[in-house]
Chain length 152, copies 2
DNA sequence: TAGTATTCCTATCGAATTACTAGGGAACTG
DNA sequence: CAGTTCCCTAGTAATTCGATAGGAATACTA
């Protein structure tokens, strides 16, 4: 269960924009330097965010990128979907489109349950939450369990 | 957030073995046909499960694969880890090994919370649960919500 | 108003990983 | 020994990650 580089970079760039304020604009190169992201790769990702309507861009000497909506109205899940496709997929297809046969039939509701649990977190947490380092209590209590940090 | 073909195939093969009974053995070709998995690809996956100690194999005319432990002692998470590496990874590395800087710092506890929520499901559900089509109540109640089946 | 610097935007290329295929060698059964 | 089955190595197509080069649009300056 893997979160791609695209998704991680997209979220970090969006958080950086959120931290700069809803009306400030940042240059791609500045975001890349602040977060250690390959800057030409980041430009492609920012293009996806623009086509997805999450950011607006401006060319020229005083150009850059800024959020298209307030940071507390953009969920992490929104950013991932625009930059990287479906939030959770099995073999590249969304869980409801899967078909299992024989004794594996119960895998379908299992993946649905996993997706629901992921959505519950990534659909609730917004860019504003992360940028202000104030995650919702429900999420914090999950992350505070020491067992959640052990490796396997 | 993507579940690879390896992981999906590995779980389906293990479930098929669980459904056959703890002491019965199945041939790779039979599992491949039952689940529609490319059989040479499946052989590589079964090799990983064997090296990981989850199944035992036998060559020759009456050979095949069978589970190395009772089906109710093998969690779905165990199968995925052996066949496909860490249960959840960001850019190929496990969440505790990530390092974020600046306003993105709260992403680390966020991924930890996501992983904890995924573990809670895949670490609790066993091959026996899936093979018998009797998922734990906690999981079923997540999957029964009609909203969990809608697409974005 | 012309020129220049800055920035976004597109297209292409190589390395690495994923998904899958092919063929032959090793071990077990009857 | 002969037939079956697992087991190992190598090789191919597609995707992802990341780098590079140049073109198009905008803003500042003289």
């Amino acid at each position: 269960m893997r979160i791609s580089a695209r998704a991680d970079y997209a979220v970090r760039a969006a958080v950086e924009l959120a931290a700069a304020g809803d009306e400030a604009s940042l240059k791609a190169e500045a975001i890349a330097a602040a977060q250690g992201i390959p800057h030409k790769f980041l430009e492609g990702i920012l293009g996806d965010l623009r086509r997805g309507g999450l950011v607006v861009s401006q060319r020229g000497g005083k150009g850059g990128y800024r959020l298209a909506r307030p940071a507390d109205s953009i969920a992490i899940a929104d950013v991932i979907r625009v930059a990287d496709g479906p939030l959770v997929s099995v073999r590249g297809v969304r869980p409801p489109e899967l078909s299992y046969c024989g004794p594996a039939e119960s895998l379908l509701p299992l993946w649905i349950a996993v997706r629901a649990n992921v959505r519950k977190i990534l659909g609730e947490v917004t860019l504003a939450h992360v940028a202000a380092a104030k995650l919702p209590d429900e999420v914090l209590s999950l992350a505070e369990d020491p067992e959640a940090w052990t490796n396997p």
